[in-house]
């Protein structure tokens, strides 16, 4: 494998990693909750897209829009059902509540779909450059990520709801004092976070095979990325995603003798090292 394709492939998958991690980091930044159900939300995106496009014959990208709406809705529902009561409780409660949601969704999913691998029968052709080629779906995934990220940025920066979200993230009690409805803002933030996870899942499903348990792998990657970029910092998450993606792309290029199975060792090693020596991440965590 030569240099340029390794870089391009790494960047493409890195954008999608970053999108999923951005959801996780948004939830942590606003709710101070580490969402252990993030993986099942990614899986929800994958299977949502799969079911909509194979059973209803929808175009995958039209289905992706529906999946995003579904992600937003189910995220808000999960907040009201499972998380709201734990908002003022110790950390353990919210960790366990989100993990319980994860168990419920994975349990039902495994019973319904089994754990066999699925694959979307869909291709957009490929785009050739120099010595390599990139599939159309990967290219669309990059642009979709860029679109969603800039949309999110504009939403948070300029709309009043976005400003409410930032206010709640800064100081929930002060935000309540000035009349911001914090409960619905928390629910909306959790919904937005799961929406990003669902979109990322849907995008992954367009170019990689997946199982009902695949979300867990991407969830662990999201943790690494969030810590790398700084927990609570959405742009850091995107940068972290790109770093991780490029790392995965480059490792086989620079160390061709290294078996694939060493990649997780390096990723989690990096994760622990960053937590130990720079817990605020590369771009600084939200305090």
């Amino acid at each position: 494998m030569s240099f340029l394709p390794a870089l391009v492939d790494g960047l493409c998958i890195g954008f999608v990693y970053g999108l999923a991690a951005m959801g996780l980091t948004l939830i942590f930044g606003v709710l101070r909750v580490v969402n252990l159900a993030h993986g099942s939300m990614i899986t929800l995106g994958m299977f949502g897209l799969y079911l909509l496009s194979t059973h209803l014959n929808l175009n995958p990208y039209l289905a992706l829009v529906l999946v995003a709406v579904l992600g937003l809705g189910s995220g808000m529902l999960i907040y009201y059902l499972a998380l709201h009561r734990t908002m003022n409780a110790p950390h353990l409660s919210s960790l366990l509540a989100t993990f319980a949601v994860n168990m419920i969704l994975v349990g039902i999913g495994t019973a319904t779909f089994s754990t066999s691998a699925r694959n979307l029968d869909f291709a957009l052709g490929s785009f050739h450059y120099g010595e390599g080629a990139i599939s159309g779906q990967r290219l669309v995934a990059v642009f979709a990520t860029l679109g969603v990220t800039s949309g999110l940025y504009l939403f948070l920066a300029y709309t009043s709801t976005g400003k409410y979200i930032r206010a709640v993230a800064n100081n929930r009690y002060a935000a309540e004092l000035v009349g911001i409805p914090s409960t619905s803002i928390l629910a909306l933030s959790f919904g937005l976070g799961t929406m990003l996870a669902a979109i990322a899942g849907g995008l992954i499903a367009t170019f990689l095979p997946f199982t009902i348990l695949a979300g867990g792998v991407y969830e662990l990657k999201s943790f690494v990325i969030c810590v790398l970029g700084g927990l609570g910092n959405p742009l850091g998450a995107l940068l972290g995603g790109l770093i991780l993606g490029v790392l995965e792309g480059f490792l086989p290029f620079f160390l061709p003798n290294l078996p694939n199975t060493w990649i997780p060792v390096l990723e989690f090693g990096l994760f622990v090292v960053i937590l130990l020596f720079r817990p605020s991440g590369l771009l600084g965590a939200k305090q």
Partner: protein, 322 residues
């Protein structure tokens, strides 16, 4: 020594001993396997409770001590033909050593960061061992069947492991009580409530936290060796299963965190429930979802667990239940 006159503790140990000896009297292997699973859960949940319940540090990676101890023990048994007892002890020491080194590093982190770090360390060690040919890589280590001959054949070896695990379960409960009622344990409880305040009143918090971590890791390391010796082989995916760590958390929550009785009650209740769900034709497939639903109900509505609920309901019990 008034703290050793607590009738609740002795009653608990006596009941555990009777429950543990019951399969021995009936000599029934199915009962033995069921009680073994419960005893194993009691050891793991109760030792995790020292970190989680007393010190207030949420660890999602407790299984790492069980797995690493198991690996070290199996390596010594298989490659160096150590006797089981010294291999088990070595497993415990390896787990304790890992906890000591980790304690120096990650116990500086608080709250969610610590929880994330424990997940990261479990996954890093799993991925690392998966790649080490010394430990057999993804295939792991399988014991030669002849090894059981030294212990009177495979059947006898299983009983031996069973009695050792029963002893360790009793020891864990005893240790848990001893820690909770000691000055050291009071220091841990103070850290749980407010770490800065604990430091101000003179508790050397890094040292106390590290020792709590080591104490919570030692017995799981021993039990890991016994478990995988009984199993006959060890693989990275069995030894470092993140899900197992979470099950321990569920048991503690079910019984009541920060109490001595809680993990015992929670582990027993959880394993009975799991047994019921797995054998019930209706729940068999959605066993995981039902367990998740129960966990959610407990976290949302009874966060103090069964023991906490009992104590609040019947104030008389407050003195008796440790």
């Amino acid at each position: 020594m008034k703290r050793w006159q607590n009738s609740g503790l002795w009653l608990m140990l006596a009941l555990l001993l009777v429950g543990g000896l019951w399969p021995a009297f009936t000599h029934n292997q199915a009962n033995r396997e069921m009680v073994y699973t419960i005893l194993l859960s009691i050891v793991l949940a109760s030792s995790l409770n020292i970190m989680l319940g007393y010190t207030g540090y949420v660890s999602f990676g407790h299984v790492v001590f069980f797995g690493l101890g198991g690996y070290v023990g199996m390596f010594l048994l298989h490659n160096h033909h150590f006797p089981l007892w010294s291999a088990a002890l070595a497993g415990g020491i390896a787990a304790g050593l890992l906890a000591f080194l980790l304690g120096k590093a990650i116990l500086r982190l608080r709250g969610a960061f610590f929880a994330l770090a424990t997940i990261g360390i479990n996954e890093a060690i799993r991925a690392l061992i998966n790649n080490l040919t010394l430990f057999g890589g993804p295939a792991g280590i399988s014991l030669n069947f002849n090894i059981y001959k030294d212990y009177g054949g495979a059947g006898e070896a299983l009983w031996l492991v069973y009695y050792a695990t029963l002893f360790l379960a009793l020891a864990t409960i005893f240790l848990s009580y001893a820690i909770k009622t000691s000055k050291f344990g009071l220091g841990l409880l103070a850290i749980r409530e407010d770490e800065e305040a604990a430091e101000v009143i003179g508790i050397v918090t890094p040292r106390a936290k590290t020792w709590a971590y080591v104490l919570s890791a030692f017995i799981p390391g021993i039990v890991g060796v016994l478990f995988f010796f009984k199993n006959g082989n060890i693989e990275p995916s069995d030894a470092f299963r993140l899900h197992f760590s979470i099950e321990m958390l569920v048991m503690i929550m079910l019984g009541g965190q920060g109490t001595v009785l809680g993990p015992l009650l929670g582990a027993t209740g959880y394993q009975f429930l799991r047994g019921f769900l797995l054998t019930n034709s209706f729940f068999k497939d959605i066993q995981l979802a039902v367990a998740g639903f129960l966990l959610l109900i407990i976290v949302l509505f009874i966060p103090a667990g069964a023991v906490g609920w009992l104590k609040r309901r019947f104030t008389l019990l407050q003195e008796v239940l440790p």
